[in-house]
Symmetry: C2
Subunit: 183 residues, 2 copies
Amino acid sequence: MARRLFSFVGGNHGSWKVIRMDTVIGEGLPKVDALGIIEGMLTAPSNGHSWVLRGVTSYARYVHSDERQHLQQLQASLDRPQATCAALIPIKKSAAWWELPQDVRRAIFEEQSHHTAIGIGYMPAIARRLHHGYDLGEPFDFLTWFEYAPEDAPAFERLTQALRAAEEWRYVEREIDIRLIKY
Amino acid sequence: MARRLFSFVGGNHGSWKVIRMDTVIGEGLPKVDALGIIEGMLTAPSNGHSWVLRGVTSYARYVHSDERQHLQQLQASLDRPQATCAALIPIKKSAAWWELPQDVRRAIFEEQSHHTAIGIGYMPAIARRLHHGYDLGEPFDFLTWFEYAPEDAPAFERLTQALRAAEEWRYVEREIDIRLIKY
């Protein structure tokens, strides 16, 4: 398996402390105290772990050339010392979403919902890494990992609210919002 | 893992007899006499098997609404009694391909290479199922499985030649062409 695969492990230990865990829509996940991130495949929860979610970084499905240029200019990397706040947002979209043709999905994603444009507005304060689970047969299609400084926490609230208010979010059938701080 | 996952097993037994196995570009695969198709994950070659290639059926990455409508009207299903010929074509594309933005990949795929339009021209004679391996970390990004009747074999040659002559194929860095007949 490629080194693009990450396992997010919820349990009683890990390098991030869970400070809030909300079920936004659909079935929840067992509450945990801590989260660890492991590069590679962890096949099952082990001692002290409650659940494992897996995802793989991949090519962007909707970003066009001009948007990519903006993203590359503005996006921050993970692991900045001041970015002691994080969020893991696992999302599953509906079968109706996945059955849409590419042009319709793209139009909902960007022309109607402005997903990339909204995200760019919060860069470089909020760093992000997207992991895909759909082709892995995982319970969540996307695991998005965000890192930001404590003073950018209000901006992060505005970002998640803007994305959840968009047309695209009508196709989300399961979403958990996990907030964390660095131990 | 979803039931969308298929394992193609090369070895000395299976329901398809290998009649030709050509390396089109890049590293080859060990020659085998037979191929089996297993629904689900086969993690490693077992007794009498030489290799296992895995892929998952998924949503279409490039097909637009109008093309989808054509595809749905014309495409044949697998397992037709007269379709005793088959081909498995594993393909890996270059890193340069995967780094292109979506709009550029789409333009190369369809507006320049007419991938879907060419394929539609050979429907319903040639049935097809595409399996994705990129997000699984598999050695091949795509495993395309084709089924057709013996009298359509010349048409299948024209189809593969047309696709290999297209701009999109400049991004293919490994391709094996395996031809089979039903046992």
